[in-house]
Structures are given as structure tokens and as C-alpha cells.
């Protein structure tokens, strides 16, 4: 019997999983969401993604795809008559992919130490993270969203910052995204969070904060 429909294997606090949900919701696609316990992964997840064993995984009519940025592009192509996620112009597509990769490889790596450090070390890494985000911010210049007048691929990839970073900041006792240092990014946070499909799917802030606080305590104690 052929499997039909769309499933998303994710985890409630995963920024990677939420991208996939945002993409599907922009396209108006119904999906079943399966929340994974990452310490005790389901047989289904391991069967659908034996290579990296990670969330998110999208299963479309029984066929699995892993890697959130790959999934977002797939959603755009599989439901090509819906909301346009990728830019149409080849050069702009390349730009969007470039900044997405930059954010994932560099900015995320620069942000993580903010979470795991204290004192002077933390101040140092905060400055590093700000430098990285300032570079990313150049892609916003003169635009409402990274995608232009409307959200696009890059907004979906880095959009998690808008909800997660303030939580990470609070849990870590640091501020990274300020009006002085990152005015464009801060303004974009507000615009992004006002988008319907984004508002509809965000993880509970208090729950996210509690999780991050506990995790930070754990890491600092180690």
C-alpha cells in the first residue's frame, strides 16, 4: 500500500525542524508532525534517515528527505505553484544559498560559544558573534526581508534567530542583537515574527527558556 501525505519528523525546540514547517505552511500544505525524543529516537526516524539519523526529516508519499535546507528547496520545487520560496533570478538564488550557508556554518558556530561561556570570555565571543551577524546583515540592506518585500528562503533559514536568540541571550546573561550593533537585523526580527505562519508555529518561549537555562547549567558544570 503506497504511503500518502506529508510527515515531518522534528523536535519542538529544533530551529532546523521549524524551517520545514514554515515552508510547508507558506505553501498551504497539510502535514503530520512527529515530535522526536532525541535521546530515544523512533524506529521510524532511523529507518527514514539512516545516514545522519537527525531531525528534521520530511516524508512525502513515503519518500524521505533529510537536511533542512535541502528540504526547504524541495518543498519549493514539489509545490511549485504555491508561495515562491526561492528567488526566481539565478544570481539571487545563488546569493540566498550563499548567505544561508554562511549563517549555518559561521554565524551558528559564532553564536554557540555565547551560550557556553561566562565573564570576559563571553564578552569576547559576543563581539565575534556580532561581527558575524553584521556580515549577514548586509544581505538585508534596503529590504524588508532577506527575500525582498516578502519572506523567502533565507528568511526561513535564519528566521529562528528572531525567536531563539532573545531566549539564548536571557539564558546566557548576554546581549548580542542590539539596536546599536545590529539595527537592521533587530528590525527584521519584529517583521519576521509578525508573519502569520511564523506566529502559528513558534515553540513556547517559557519552555524554550527553561530548556536553554538547564542546558547551560549542565554545560558550565561539566
Amino acid at each position: 500500500m503506497a504511503e500518502k501525505g506529508v510527515k515531518v519528523f522534528g523536535m519542538w525546540a529544533s530551529p532546523m525542524a521549524i524551517r520545514v514547517e514554515w515552508a510547508l505552511r507558506l505553501k498551504g500544505v497539510d502535514y503530520e508532525y512527529i515530535d522526536e525524543d532525541l535521546a530515544n529516537k523512533s524506529d521510524a526516524l532511523l529507518r527514514y534517515n539512516p545516514v545522519t539519523k537527525k531531525v528534521p526529516v520530511l516524508v512525502h508519499d513515503g519518500k524521505p528527505i533529510a537536511e533542512s535546507t535541502v528540504i526547504v528547496e524541495y518543498v519549493d520545487e514539489a509545490w511549485k505553484d504555491g508561495y515562491p520560496i526561492m528567488p526566481a533570478d539565478p544570481y539571487e538564488r545563488a546569493q540566498a544559498r550563499f548567505w544561508a550557508r554562511f549563517a549555518e556554518d559561521k554565524c551558528n558556530a559564532a553564536l554557540y560559544p555565547v551560550f557556553t561561556t561566562t565573564g570576559d570570555t563571553q564578552s569576547e565571543v559576543v563581539r565575534e558573534a556580532q561581527r558575524c551577524l553584521k556580515t549577514l546583515e548586509t544581505a538585508l540592506e534596503g529590504k524588508k526581508f532577506f527575500g525582498g518585500d516578502a519572506v523567502g528562503y533565507l528568511d526561513l533559514v535564519v528566521g529562528w534567530y528572531a525567536h531563539w536568540l532573545p531566549v539564548v541571550e536571557e539564558a546566557s546573561g548576554a546581549t548580542v542583537v542590539t539596536d546599536e550593533e545590529l539595527p537592521l537585523l533587530k528590525a527584521w526580527f519584529d517583521r519576521f515574527l509578525a508573519i502569520d505562519v511564523v506566529r502559528a508555529t513558534l515553540p513556547d518561549r517559557d519552555r524554550l527558556l527553561a530548556l536553554n537555562k538547564a542546558r547551560r547549567e549542565q554545560l558550565l558544570a561539566a
Binding site: 545516514v51 535541502v70 528540504i71 528547496e73 524541495y74 526566481a88 539565478p90 538564488r93 545563488a94 550557508r101
Partner: protein, 277 residues
């Protein structure tokens, strides 16, 4: 976009900034050749990067960078997809089906995030660290082999099907380092018995005309790799380090290129070669 504007854009000149030993550069050269696109090539000295490169790729300062109609495109996998987007009528690198495209993209991530760094780690380490890196490479190759044997790529001559595609270019340009690293470090990476399908694919890939035009002669690669490894081991002060596969510096001294790069440059090239696959 139709008509004149598109044709002018397609006709705009192409220039590639690259490095002769960079597999990322080779990916772009190969893709351009497969698509039958003319381009100007500019060789970069990675130890002494040109103002042009720094201006065109200020974020990463790396090769390759493709310049098209005055606009710069860095990052090899992004460039390859740009070539497909900008010249959709010329020998597409990605398949037409959305799911197949997603598969190709997934495995490109795998190549650059998992397999490549693991192979690089084999090259830059010795002893137990190297043994662990070798195991990692084998685990990763086993995953690719499984996909060829019974998974998404079952029965295919190339990852792209009957013809090479994006994933072939990405995996292939870099897999030639496997044989070179085996020679230089003395470890076994691609056993034809353990990975028969991968081995067969690589052999078929390397036999293609466009590939032979693109990949440098193996003795040049060997000389280069020996020089870098010699420098790395010298820098690490690991001379004569024990453990299986360690390459004693003294035995390679005779093979090291006569114009050895200064240590800083060697680290720069080592970093490029180490993350290259």
C-alpha cells in the same frame, strides 16, 4: 526573464579564479566543460591572494570564485547550481525530478560535511588519531556504497544516472585525493573489495574525457601532497611518529618539491588541501 536580456546575460563572459590543486576549483572547471561553456581561468597563489580575489570574495577569501557579467559567485556547490539555473538548456547537472534533486543535494552536503573532512583528517593526522579518521572515512564510504548497492542510486553507472550529474562532479572532484593520500600516508582508504561499486564508479568517472582534462596529473598531485604532509608533520614536531600509516618525514625529504613553501603558506595550503576531498 525572456528574450534579449536573458541572451545578453548568458553571453556575458565567464572568468574563474581558482587554484590548480583545489578540488573545489576542479568541480567548477569540470561543470563548465560539461556544459560547453567558455571561460577565462586565473590561477591564484593561495599563499599570496590577489586583490581581485579578496574583492570578489571578501567573506571567505577562497577559491573558486566564478565571475559572470561582473558578478561574483563563490562556493563550488552554489556555483554549480548557478550554472544550472543560468543555463537550464545546456546539459543540466541536476535531475528534473524534485525528489531526485533533493537526494543529490543531500549527498553533496554529506560529501562536504562528512566525507571530505574525514579524508582531510586522515591526511593531517598520525597514529591513533589517524586510525580513528580512517575508520570514519570507511563508515562514510560504506554509506555511499550502500546507496549504490541497494538504495537511491541502485543500478546506476553514475550518481546522475547514465550521465554524470552534480553529485558525480562534487564527489568525483576530490575522490582522486583518496589514491594520493593512500600513497602518501600509507593507509588504505578505498579498498576495491570493501567498496566495489564506489571503486567502479570512480574508475568510470576518472576515464571521462572532460574529467581527464580537468584533474591534474597524479604525479603532480603526489608531489604536492607529499610536500604538504612533510610540512605538516614537521610543523607538528611529529617527526617519525609511531602508529600505523605514519609517514616518516625523512623518507619523503627526497620527494618534497624543491621550492618548499614557507611554513605560513604551507599551513594555508594544508588547510585548503586538508578540507578538500
Amino acid at each position: 526573464m525572456e528574450g534579449k536580456e536573458e541572451n545578453a546575460s548568458e553571453a556575458a563572459p565567464l572568468k574563474l579564479l581558482g587554484s590548480w590543486a583545489s578540488s573545489y576549483t576542479h568541480r567548477v572547471q569540470l561543470a563548465l566543460r560539461l556544459k560547453g561553456l567558455e571561460f577565462e581561468y586565473a590561477e591564484e597563489d593561495l599563499a599570496n591572494k590577489s586583490d581581485e580575489l579578496l574583492r570578489l570574495n571578501p567573506v571567505y577569501k577562497k577559491v573558486p570564485v566564478l565571475v559572470h557579467g561582473g558578478r561574483a559567485l563563490p562556493e563550488s556547490v552554489i556555483i554549480l547550481q548557478y550554472l544550472d539555473d543560468a543555463w537550464p538548456e545546456r546539459r543540466p547537472l541536476l535531475p528534473a525530478d524534485a525528489f531526485d534533486r533533493a537526494l543529490a543535494r543531500f549527498w553533496c552536503h554529506f560529501a562536504d560535511d562528512k566525507l571530505g573532512p574525514a579524508v582531510g583528517a586522515v591526511f593531517t593526522s598520525t597514529g591513533e588519531e589517524q586510525e580513528a579518521a580512517v575508520r570514519q572515512v570507511h563508515e562514510n564510504l560504506a554509506l555511499v556504497e550502500a546507496e549504490l548497492r541497494e538504495g537511491a542510486f541502485k543500478g546506476r553507472r553514475f550518481f546522475g544516472g547514465d550521465e554524470v550529474g552534480l553529485l558525480d562532479v562534487v564527489l568525483g572532484c576530490g575522490s582522486y585525493w583518496l589514491a594520493v593520500f593512500e600513497e602518501v600516508t600509507g593507509v588504505r582508504l578505498v579498498d576495491a573489495d570493501a567498496f566495489p561499486l564506489f571503486h567502479a564508479w570512480l574508475r568510470d568517472f576518472e576515464a571521462l574525457d572532460e574529467v581527464r582534462e580537468t584533474i591534474p596529473a597524479v604525479d603532480r598531485l603526489l608531489e604536492y601532497a607529499r610536500g604538504v604532509r612533510h610540512m605538516l608533520l614537521g610543523l607538528a614536531g611529529a617527526g617519525g611518529a609511531g602508529g600505523a600509516g605514519a609517514d616518516a618525514p625523512s623518507s619523503t625529504a627526497a620527494d618534497a618539491p624543491t621550492a618548499s613553501p614557507p611554513p605560513a603558506a604551507a599551513t594555508a595550503t594544508a588547510a585548503d588541501i586538508a578540507v578538500d576531498i
